[in-house]
Assembly symmetry: C2
Homo-oligomer: 337 residues x 2
DNA sequence: CTGAAAGCGCTAACAA
DNA sequence: TTGTTAGCGCTTTCAG
């Protein structure tokens, strides 16, 4: 069995209570005995059992992050932002990926609650988001990420409608009149907001703008799906009615789409202009750097984690709904350099 | 306070022990009472406290993964492989990044032990690797990842020397005689093994091969460092003695290096051939797709996690040291298409 | 300032 | 089959 507080107490010639005190209220113990106890601890290489401490009433210094997929650069970057805070604040980070499955989201949340984490950061699945309330009812702090929350909670989000508008205005300003949106259910609310933004930019644009947008639905936010989208786009529409300006729901789709277009002999940006979304590093590295709507991923994770820590720790915490404003970054996929 | 086993027992009109039984040995409880207890649980939305269960002797269904950086594609992909196993086996994954700091590695390990995880996957820092022993001494299962282990332990690694050899032979076969290695301390053992492989390929190559390799040391495995390396490489060597074949310690360095070379007007692969390492997806997506030494990252994570689960669970577990063989993937950065 | 003792929520004998 | 009870390792009163 592992070395317990009892062993330390015996070796230091004190009681369990005293050892516990040097751990939790060092100032209450005399200099001399504290030194003795500390020595005993390090001699025995004592690591106090976290579960036992928690049963004893202490809060767990651990928080959970529930997201779609660590492998996706967008989420990975958010995770980095979160992690830098948890490290600084000495929390343990438990990661769970939902793969955008509501069922998995539920079970992840239960798992984290069972572990008695003191807080949860949740990037809701397309269907989810109502789950947070249940978490809070159990006294576990929670902040929503990449999803706008209500007044009674903290959240960190980005204005996706605005992002959609910015991208669309850019395409319109370049003279494109036949537009398309490539997106999927993968990140439900986000994609539909971006599309809404696109439509709203079109209606307010006035002039002889062709109403409506061709929407290509993809099953996932991946490069492969982007390539697939290119194929269906090229197959569907006659050359004359083919869209010349395309907004993708995220950068991976844009990368795939551009590949697909390229191998079909369609030139970007000469024949078709493509705008991505997120502005992951990859967008700058591909052959034709991609114009994209930048989301401050690292900062989102960082901010959300700080809000969570504050909610966990600060008595007088007031909820905040942080909303970042996305920013269009123009590159070669829409404007020839 | 949260709802406890006591509450469930009262509501179902049974004792705590019975509730515990339906949780842990359902077959021992009668059909009728089990149904009643289950109903009570779901009415109350009971989530058993994991810490309490652990104190009560149960093993924690959680494992820890200690790696350098979630944000790095190489590690992210390993994490995905691990995660798919933990999900399937119903384990919780606690992630910690060391940022290649031995101190952080130590504290991460302590944290995980304190949490009483039942197993740990460790990708050791450059300096570390001796730490695993301490983990095992505390009865926590552990498998080494990306690092060859001894007989008394499980490990999953890739033969980096062989990878270095393969890359070098490729460069030699293309006629390159002035070679360089761009690498850093970031992934210590890995990079030095790759360099060793390079040297060994040179010595065994025979012929009028220029002995030795120019080594450019970089502080980290990043694109920025790769660009920096290009600058120093171009500044250092006179045009005539400049290397024409370069192996990079990883793909990000190669991406950066190629950028740096490109902006200095050096053509890849015409003037210089570049080989990367890892074969992350990005290697295929950049303007000039990169020849790289492929490591099966997802599979490494997957395999390691399965070994760990087996070590945790199977009584008759026998240790295995899995060594993957890397594979050279030739692309445009060494051979013009 | 230190020691003794009562739990925390649950599991696992052991009885009934 | 079910109930009873003794811990698990620690924190936290409360006396001394």
């Amino acid at each position: 069995m592992a070395v317990t507080i009892e062993d330390v107490a015996r070796r230091a010639g004190v009681s369990r209570g005293t050892v516990s005190n040097v751990l939790n209220r060092p100032d209450v113990v005399s200099e001399a005995t504290r030194a003795r106890v500390l020595a005993a601890m390090s001699d025995l290489d004592f690591i106090p059992s976290q579960p036992a401490r928690m049963l004893g009433g202490l809060r767990n210094r651990s928080i959970g992050l529930v997201m779609h997929d660590v492998g996706h650069p967008f989420f990975a970057e958010i995770a980095r932002g979160v992690e830098d805070v948890t490290i600084r604040e000495n929390y343990v980070l438990t990661l769970t990926s939902t793969r955008d499955d509501a069922e998995r989201e539920r079970s992840s949340l239960r798992l984290l609650i069972a572990q008695q984490v003191s807080g949860i950061l949740l990037i809701p699945t397309a269907s989810g988001a109502g789950e947070v309330q249940q978490v809070r009812e159990r006294g576990v702090a929670a902040v929503l990420l990449d999803h706008e929350g209500g007044a009674g909670e903290c959240s960190v989000a980005v204005d996706d409608i605005r992002g959609g508008i910015a991208a669309t205005q850019h395409l319109l300003s370049l003279g494109h009149r036949r537009l398309a949106f490539v997106g999927g259910p993968g990140r439900g609310r986000q994609h539909s907001d971006r599309l809404s933004g696109m439509r709203s930019a079109l209606t307010t644009a006035g002039g002889r703008v062709r109403p409506g947008v061709q929407v290509v639905t993809v099953p996932a936010d991946t490069i492969a799906c982007g390539e697939e989208a290119a194929r269906s786009l090229l197959a569907d529409s006659a050359r004359r009615s083919r869209p010349t300006g395309i907004l993708c729901g995220n950068d991976l789709l844009a990368v795939g789409l551009m590949r697909g277009l390229g191998s079909a002999g369609v030139s970007v940006p000469d024949d078709v202009a493509v705008v991505g979304y997120d502005d992951i590093e990859l967008a700058t590295l591909v052959g034709t750097p991609i114009t994209s709507v930048r989301q401050p991923m690292y900062e989102m994770g960082h901010t959300a984690a700080e809000l969570l820590v504050s909610e966990i720790r600060d008595r007088g915490h007031t909820h905040r709904n942080v909303r970042f404003v996305p920013e269009l970054v123009v590159r070669d996929s829409t404007v020839r350099p």
